[in-house]
């Protein structure tokens, strides 16, 4: 059973806050994690449709989390968008090899984030949209 909640994972509090704010304002329900361990636990517990996953994090990085999620049949269907400040081709290849569905490079535009969320999760259910 998949949840329409979007999981946002980043160890940079400001980036986490910006992503969460934009997605909430667009009516998506979000949950956040600040490291790899937390992210894995959250993914296993709620099986979100979509995860925005930062790569460079302490303890377990985004590549490792992605690999583990995709290797487990119970969570393999979770759509993962890797977020990273490193734009080098080698990293992109490594992300795709780890099974990531998409790759977004920082700095990213909030509009782009919203567009991706709508593609994967669809439009938020009526009544969830928060007022301004």
């Amino acid at each position: 059973m998949s949840d329409k909640t979007i999981l946002v994972v980043d160890d940079e509090p400001f980036i986490l806050r910006a992503l969460t704010y934009v997605l909430n304002r667009e009516g998506f329900h979000t949950m956040s994690a600040t490291n790899g361990e937390e992210a894995l636990a959250a993914i296993r517990a709620i099986k979100p449709l979509l995860v925005f996953l930062d790569v460079m994090m302490p303890s377990r990085n985004g590549f490792e989390v992605c690999q583990e999620v995709k290797a487990d049949p119970a969570t393999a269907g979770v759509h993962i968008i890797l977020l990273t400040a490193k734009g080098q081709e080698a990293d992109r290849a490594r992300g795709l090899a780890a099974g990531a569905d998409e790759y977004m490079t920082k700095p990213f535009s909030p509009a782009e984030v919203v567009a991706r969320a709508r593609e994967v999760v669809g439009w938020p259910e009526a009544g969830m949209t928060q007022g301004s």
Binding site: F14, A18, V22, R25, M56, P107, S109
Partner: protein
């Protein structure tokens, strides 16, 4: 009778025939021997002498044959010897060739291993460069991401005033972080590429600490800490670049504040380094910045000087600096001819120390200093030749006369004010010609000289002052509206002791004047 005759004749015939037959047999046997000899020669057997067996008739022939056979034997022998000689030479050649090949192979092996080592080193350097680039990229993009996201959010969504202010605060904070980072990366790149411009001058540490540590006192107070500065004013002047030295103090003290809890204290001290064994007196000053904060685990003491290696803040656990402050500080101190090191233990605070060279008139700027005791794994890197020469300031007249040459009345007024406050008498000149006159006619202690003046430019004045015996030692501070490195170099080459930009603050000018005068007493 006839019968007898016949018998006799027959007997004689028989005897003759028998004799002839014997001769024929003998000749035939001799010929056989000769034939055998010829065949044997033809077969290439070792030639033997053929015995004479054919009687007189064949003897001559046999002799001839034997002579010929002996000749053949000799030639064969010669041939044999020359073949042996050839073989020997050939073998020699082959063995020398083999030896040569073996050496060559050995050389190739050595070269290959050298190349392999060089390749590995290059690869390591390349990896270091990659990891540095990757870190820079990450560190730059992270604040940029926040700035971009929050500015776009503010443009896209209506938010209440408190949220707007909050987001603007984040944008502001992250812009500052980005600025710091860019400055640090540029500084580091410049220092490491040898492109940093160094303005090395004699500096009083006590004065510098007074002026430069004010903002850091505020920083410490914000965390409820005490910043105690105990730098004796009577310490000798050190050779340093003022702005860079302030940067080092800033980095080290900000670090100490960051890793020390509320109510902690940070102590800044300085003293002479003990003279190295055998030397009469020391030529280094040691500065120390000590805190009673959380300290650094043994293994991490080395790490903190690596680029982008950061440990968390005491309060947030998140790194707040750029991770470049310590590598930059170490680079700066090394360039100044000193060393920077750290001693620390968890829970016992940290003690950062660095050394600087003492300014002495005879010291040339590119002389390397002496390693301080206890500076392990530090290496003295000779400074890239600082651009200026120091001058020994001679004691001049008792009246403290300073000449000020500038066509701008405003500047002259301010300088006169500042100098009179310090007890100097001021003589002014409104152009280059007057400047020369006041320098010739008075025992000036110092002249402050503008470059752009009517009648005679500051450059000309400087040249003329230097060419005359009476004024050639007069310390001159060159003032200019616009600081350009070319002009600075030219002015210093012409013997100016300092080159100052007018807009850059009179504080620096007066500090410089104080230093010059101190140096002369």
């Amino acid at each position: 009778m006839l019968d007898l005759l016949l018998v006799l004749a027959a007997a004689a015939l028989l005897a003759t025939w028998a004799h002839a037959a014997r001769r024929v047999r003998r000749v035939s046997a001799g010929l056989d021997l000769l034939r055998e000899g010829v065949r044997s020669l033809a077969r290439g057997d070792a030639p033997r002498e053929v015995p004479s067996a054919g009687g007189r008739d064949l003897d001559a022939l046999t002799r001839e044959f034997n002579q010929m056979a002996a000749g053949v034997r000799q030639r064969q022998h010669d041939l044999e010897r020359s073949r042996e000689e050839t073989d020997r030479l050939l073998n020699q050649l082959i063995s020398s060739r083999e030896h040569h090949l073996a050496t060559l192979e050995e050389k190739v092996r050595e070269r290959t291993s050298d190349l392999h080592k060089a390749y590995e080193e290059l690869k390591k350097l390349d990896e270091m460069k990659d990891s540095f680039l990757s870190s820079v990229s990450h560190e730059l993009r992270t604040p940029l991401s926040s700035i971009r996201s929050f500015s776009e959010i503010l443009l896209t969504y209506n938010a209440d005033e408190a949220t707007r202010r909050d987001f603007l605060g984040i944008i502001n904070q992250e812009s500052e972080r980005l600025t710091r980072l860019i400055n640090d990366v540029l500084d580091l790149a410049k220092i490491e590429a040898g492109r940093m411009e160094w303005h090395i001058a004699p500096i009083s540490l006590a004065q510098l600490c007074d002026a430069a540590l004010a903002p850091l006192h505020v920083l410490a107070r914000k965390k409820g800490q005490r910043l105690v500065v105990d730098v004796p004013a009577e310490l000798p002047l050190v050779l340093a670049d003022r702005d860079r030295l302030i940067q080092v103090f800033g980095n080290l003290i900000a670090n100490a504040v960051k890793f020390t809890g509320e109510g902690g204290s940070i102590h800044v001290g300085a003293g002479l380094v003990e003279a190295p064994p055998g030397a009469q007196e020391t030529d280094m000053v040691r500065v120390e910045i000590r805190d009673n904060g959380i300290g650094i685990p043994g293994g991490d003491v080395k790490l903190i000087f690596e680029k982008f290696k950061q440990v968390g803040d005491t309060l947030t656990g998140k790194p707040t600096g750029t991770g470049l402050g310590l590598p930059i500080s170490r680079d700066i101190i090394r360039q100044l001819g000193g060393a920077l090191w750290c001693e620390s233990a968890p829970g016992e605070g940290s003690r950062f120390q660095f050394t600087l060279r003492i300014a002495t008139p005879e010291r040339t700027p590119d002389q390397a200093g002496v390693m301080p005791q206890g500076a392990v794994e530090e290496q003295m890197v000779p400074a890239c030749a600082p651009p200026r020469q120091e001058t020994a300031f001679a004691v001049r007249g008792r009246r403290r006369l300073v000449g000020v040459a500038d066509d701008d009345a405003g500047t002259v007024g301010v300088l006169r004010e500042l100098l009179s406050l310090r007890g100097y008498e001021v003589l002014t000149a409104a152009d280059g010609v007057e400047a020369i006159e006041i320098a010739r006619g008075n025992e000036l202690e110092l002249m402050i000289l503008d470059l752009n003046m009517p009648r005679k430019s500051g450059w000309r004045v400087l040249e003329e002052l230097r060419s005359e015996a009476q004024t050639k030692d007069l310390p001159v501070i060159v003032l200019t509206g616009m600081e350009a490195e070319m002009d600075r170099a030219r002015a210093l080459a012409l013997g100016a002791v300092e080159f100052l930009e007018k807009g850059r603050g009179l504080e620096r000018l007066t500090a410089e004047i104080d230093l010059l005068v101190q140096g002369s007493v």
